[in-house]
Symmetry: C2
Subunit: 207 residues, 2 copies
DNA sequence: CCGTATATAGTCCACATGGACTAATCGCGA
DNA sequence: TCGCGATTAGTCCATGTGGACTATATACGG
């Protein structure tokens, strides 16, 4: 049970954000809203501040100082610790493979930009195998249910899942195809220029 | 804030199950596992028994007696109350329309077999409009992000969502097409034979 | 220059979740 | 017929979630 096991999707998003730069909590939640991260997971104040507190207790983030502006509440700036960085990477690599956890996978995909291209390819190929097996099993269960006379009105949800399974597989195959193509850009971990320039822009936009 | 507002997806599944027949909690959770309802939502003992207790406190289900078999724990049999039936129906009708809540929608679809065909059509047509607008907005946001130079590796998740949005819309249109076709079977609420026979079979299988 | 809305920066707590634990009974092979 | 795992039928509690609430500061129209 490493530190990565207990992480929630929101926790991982916080860690990933701090990989960009040290920040205080309110800046994080504001940025997440601007970037529409609340499209992926529900983002409320209570959960967010509680998550930050947990990450600090777990040693995954650490305060780098407190400042105060006028009479407003103090703002504690947090930075990612090495343990936090490792935990976030381990979590993303694990969830890229695992099936059956939609939110976790969406967060993992959204944060996969930190991983090396070959790593992403290998992890998603493992996912592809698992997902194919899941989809085949569910599809077979649907066929069996129809064969045993279950009326269609009881199988509507399963029918939709089969359609979404197929679309998910098709997307994954297409994405793997693009990733394997050497012409596709994927800023390499410590060498890519695209990514470095983009991050500089983002940083400038924040200040 | 009617009773239907506070319902969780699991709570609705419990109410729907009791529409079939009165049962004691362990029978419910066993049936849900046999029917693979845990494919739709996570089903753990703690949450389940807690949910049943909440439904009882809210007056949506009521005990119809306690029996005991040898020295095992007592088994309280619960039945749906009129308030519970109404709350479940209201919840399903609401969630069939609403977008952006995947689990809720899956449960609503799975339980929509209790609704009249024309009601389902009307509700899903409203969903279709909302979903189309959501998808268009997200798709536009993706195009804008690409145009402003955000590298693809930061847009992988949004790209997948666009693919799944399209598949969801396509499925919904196809399903609405089938529902509108008078040749499609949809056991009407108080007159269909298919549904009544199927439920009788299910009941026999339980005993 | 006054009131009102909005942004800043959170706290608090009721409620929901999930996993570990309990404890009796039943089936079944050695 | 003895033991052992599976099934029956739950309880308990630490943790996570989300919505209501607080309080100051600034912008802006009238």
């Amino acid at each position: 049970m490493s530190a990565a096991d207990r992480l929630t999707p929101l926790g991982v998003m916080v860690l990933s954000m701090l990989r960009e730069d040290a920040m205080h909590p309110y800046e994080m939640i504001r940025l997440m809203r601007i970037r529409r991260d609340d499209r992926i997971l529900s983002l409320t104040n209570g959960t967010f501040y509680h998550t930050v507190a947990r990450l600090e207790r777990a040693g995954l983030i650490a305060s780098t100082g407190v400042d105060r502006d006028g009479n407003r509440p103090e703002r504690t700036t947090y930075a990612l610790t090495p343990a936090g960085s490792g935990a976030a990477t381990a979590w993303v690599r694990r969830e890229l493979v695992r099936t059956g956890r939609p939110t976790e996978f969406r967060v993992a995909l959204a944060e996969a930009h930190d991983l090396a291209r070959d790593d992403v390819i290998a992890l998603l190929e493992r996912r592809r195998a698992l997902l194919g097996a899941d989809a085949a099993e569910r599809s077979q269960a649907l066929v069996d249910a129809r064969a045993t006379g279950v009326p269609d009105q009881y199988l509507v949800e399963a029918d939709r899942e089969a359609a979404l399974d197929a679309a998910d597989l098709a997307w994954l195959d297409a994405f793997l195809g693009r990733l394997r193509d050497p012409d596709t850009l994927w800023g390499e971990h410590a060498g890519g220029k695209t990514s470095a320039r983009y991050l500089a822009q983002r940083k400038a936009a924040r200040e």
